[in-house]
Chain length 153, copies 2
DNA sequence: CCGCAACTGACAATATGTTGTCAACATGAA
DNA sequence: TTCATGTTGACAACATATTGTCAGTTGCGG
């Protein structure tokens, strides 16, 4: 029945992977909770934050967020329809218009960011900075490793 | 414009959360890659594995996986239609039928598990058992914390 | 200038997962 | 037994995100 034996470190990795997936679900829920009072969601918040960080085209933002272009386009179109975001002409590309936040979009993002601060401060204090930084280092290292593999394929 | 200030540990938590969400995306992709040769996906694999681990109702499996009952039901119905899984009568509950793997389901799961072993052994060795176990402990602790909050609401 | 490859937005189909609602079922208290 | 409460599966609506495909745009090599 059982062919390839699992090493102890392999077992540790498998358990780690499962725990990461479960936590990701919780974090997305919490993100929705933080964004909800401003009428937004985790996904829209991400796009708003990306547009705030620098003026990007939809395709640029998708690359920055590690998501498919089409999904970000969908969110951006909704945000534009709701008046939180506006498309500006791009002198360098007629079709790839640039996203900028409207005052309304800035306000929504600021509200969410404020709520997020309270949340991260509480949980950061609970879990401990040093442990979090060590775990983040491991996770970032692993994500880079998996990203490279994908790129090399 | 300003803001509740973020503490250092709050910053650490925010970075940690972002890294977890990114890694989860990579892990899901890798899971799909492992499951694909057997005609499955990450989500179906999770349900098959839960059903294999012990005989569960759909609702039990959803709780074990940390997902909504309805989503697991949807996957389980697909697996049943494909003949990888069968519903058995539950002596303790007339409606909550129990999931069991068919021989075909066992075979598919075994294939995926075999591929997974190679993968986790390689990455476990790369990342180190002790670091993985420490990170898993942190993540599990945090997931439990977030789960409690949700339950208490 | 021309053509071709890469990029971009639009559209469609599909997969995953959530919430809400309902009726059937189970369980324990009155 | 009866009733209140919680659990469970079914169904619907919606949010998120993927892949595939297409046509318009850009930029570059010939």
């Amino acid at each position: 029945m059982n062919d390839p034996p699992r090493t102890p470190s392999g077992d540790a990795f498998a358990e780690f992977a499962i725990s990461v997936l479960r936590l990701a679900g919780h974090l997305t829920s919490e993100g929705d909770r933080l964004a909800q009072p401003s009428g937004q969601t985790s996904a829209r918040w991400q796009v708003l934050a990306a547009a705030r960080h620098s003026t990007l085209s939809v395709a640029d933002a998708a690359r920055a967020l590690g998501l498919a272009r089409q999904g970000v386009q969908r969110i951006a179109d909704i945000l534009e329809a709701e008046g939180l975001l506006a498309y500006q002409q791009n002198p360098a590309h007629q079709r790839a218009k640039l996203m900028t936040l409207t005052p309304s979009g800035e306000a929504a993002l600021a509200e969410i960011t404020a709520r997020q601060s309270v949340w991260v401060n509480a949980l950061g204090a609970e879990m401990g900075e040093e442990r979090l930084r060590q775990a983040t280092a491991l996770i970032t290292e692993l994500a880079a490793l998996l990203g490279e593999r994908r790129a090399s394929t």
